[in-house]
Symmetry: C2
């Protein structure tokens, strides 16, 4: 397996950007440790490290909105990766939008510009 | 000015992804603190926080490869931003490539897939 610079940050985590493999739309950013990267490589499905739950996280394990890996890009410092993915279910954001970046700076406020795909209350039954 | 969650990380820094405003190509990822974000908003040029030099950094201050801001997207947790930019000089990476993500995972190694725009030795005279 290729080696990434996980020790660059004290947390042992580096950012992974999920990008639509066809349109280049940025879907989300989350963090990975070495184990999450290994699981991603082994399974072909995006895994991240959940900083709130302190555990490995298969993206889509609850919602079914798994990200199938097409390619992985590595930056010049080997401390950030891009997952080129096919977003199953059409939405990456837990708020139901296609992309987590569904808001744009508009003066002193944020304007919703993203596309809502599902109702989170129906998908995440707590 | 809109408020971002800089305190999410102990470092006070959050990631900013620079993306070509026309093609959606991801050019680089760097970090911002509140001051860098404010300077970006005020000047319309991408500013970051340099973790190695511990200072605010106008992208392109040495190379001339400034990033002109077209739009700024904010994610659902307000702890990551996307700068939609026009990359002056055609290259974002200090290694001379259009994008810092110029390598792709290819089995156990990395394959160069990016486009080289300039020779770093000629641009960064040390």
């Amino acid at each position: 397996m290729i080696s990434l610079d996980f020790l660059k940050n004290a947390s042992g985590l580096i950012p992974a950007i999920a990008q639509d493999y066809q349109t280049n739309e940025i879907l989300m950013l989350a963090y990975i440790n070495e184990e999450a990267f290994k699981k991603t490589m082994e399974t072909g499905k995006a895994h991240y490290w959940s900083r709130s739950r302190n555990t490995i996280w298969l993206k889509g394990e609850t919602s079914g909105h798994v990200q199938e890996i097409h390619d992985i890009l590595v930056d010049c410092d080997a401390d950030t990766v891009v997952y080129k993915v096919e977003q199953l279910g059409g939405a990456a954001c837990h708020k139901g939008y296609r992309s987590c970046f569904f808001r744009m700076v508009d003066g002193d406020s944020l304007k919703v510009v993203g596309h809502k795909v599902f109702d989170p209350e129906k998908v995440y039954k707590k």
